[in-house]
Symmetry: C2
Subunit: 235 residues, 2 copies
DNA sequence: ATAGTCTTTATGTCTATACATAAGGAACAG
DNA sequence: CTGTTCCTTATGTATAGACATAAAGACTAT
């Protein structure tokens, strides 16, 4: 248990040791940890090193830190899963498949009520609606049902999306300040049946994403995947 | 553009400024950023402050940092979504609902082939199989279909799960070194129809989680949710 | 009791400095 | 031309010391 003094103390070794004590050692859920100063003395290192170790452990969700109260092991460790959200092109090419893109439709129309609420648009505000399909080795991979707010992004209306997906154009063009992303299972609609090899009512894995820039909603997209798609993370 | 010198320079302000320059300013994709030393001079702060700001921006996935080569804005920002994975109890109580737990069945049986592959078990290895339901205000919220490897966790067989969910027992009892978690949409099976208010074939949002401790598979769980469930994150 | 104020304390952050380490690039040898 | 060695450089990390800040707890006046 005595820290090694022959090798240089690194924040990673401190971190690993503390995590060990929390997960299978003496510091069970609810335990109040020693202060940074005490730990620094114990590990023969500076407080900054302890601070960094503890800060990262807190990031993982294992401990809670509060000024004056100190550092406490969480009762229920709120572990977080991190999912990479790549561009579809990268996602497809990562599987070793050839990527192809196709634009299905593009038009400007008054915003449907549900979308108006989601993007906080004025009544009768026009929106740009795009439907496109992303293919992996010729088979449909993802259907992109996208709405862009032309009030926030006037250039979008004049843009040509026949060769390049709107998402690729957006990430390269528009900064964003906030994104909300949600995963859910829905029953296949006509659009998904027509483009994704689904049968009507099939379970479809779907990602809905809304993006804002400085309090203005930029775009909302419904990305639905081919049958059997999973989104995986390890930690 | 000149940094503010009247107020104290904080790594957060540096960070915000640099992110601004990347997202809507002069530092487009592929740009090589000035070195930490140069930025420290520009922002009138120490290199440690710049380092922390850049390190966190790299964590977000906006930039790539390499020794000697320097810091470069990523071509395709690999944004990551972080999802909290709370205990069901916490998840339900966070919605303001009353949590209730029920054990549906508990028995030891030979592992089905698919599970044997997933957990890397010996042929005919026995596993503990549990089915339980988590309720929010009396309505079913989540169905937990869990398999525990008694070879890795002998105490599990003797444990009483009638009042406390296996997940709560597991997180409080077993450390883990690795978790794989995946989200997908499946068609409702008999089990989900019986316990979750689904109709047969309905789309069900489902989370599959496998947990290892020191190369031994501990447990595998299929968590399926009530109709309409979404998993949401912002960043 | 109760509300407001002060003290104490643990974490949060910044600084200056030092050394470690990965990796690009130049110099060199074959 | 090709591979090896060495130098240089940007990031990575540790340290001591200082001050900032949130918040618990004590103390005080009503």
């Amino acid at each position: 248990m005595t820290p090694d003094t022959t090798t240089r103390t690194t924040f990673r070794s401190v971190q690993a040791d503390i995590v060990r004590r929390i997960t299978n050692g003496p510091w069970g859920p609810g335990t109040l940890l020693p202060t940074e100063a005490d730990l620094a003395r114990e590990f023969h290192c500076s407080r900054a090193t302890i601070n960094r170790a503890l800060r990262e452990i807190a990031d993982l969700g294992l401990i809670d830190r509060r000024r004056k109260s100190g550092t406490r092991v969480r009762l229920a460790p709120v572990r977080q899963a991190r999912f990479d959200i790549p561009l579809v092109r990268a996602e497809v090419e990562a599987t070793g498949s050839a990527y192809r893109y196709a634009l299905v439709s593009q038009n400007v129309l008054p915003a449907p009520d549900a979308l108006r609420a989601q993007l906080n648009l004025a009544p009768d505000a026009p929106v740009l609606h795009l439907v496109c399909v992303h293919y992996a080795d010729g088979a449909p991979w993802q259907l992109e049902d996208r709405w862009i707010n032309p009030a926030a992004l006037p250039q979008a209306t004049a843009q040509d999306f026949s060769n390049r997906g709107p998402n690729e154009w957006l990430v390269a063009t528009v900064p964003f300040s906030e994104v909300e992303i949600s995963f859910q299972a829905i029953a296949a609609t006509d659009l998904q049946v027509a483009h994704l090899n689904h049968r009507p009512g099939d379970p479809v894995f779907c990602v809905k994403r809304t993006t804002w820039w400085q309090d203005a909603a930029i775009t909302h997209a419904v990305l639905s995947y081919r049958p059997g798609h999973r989104m995986t993370a390890r930690y």
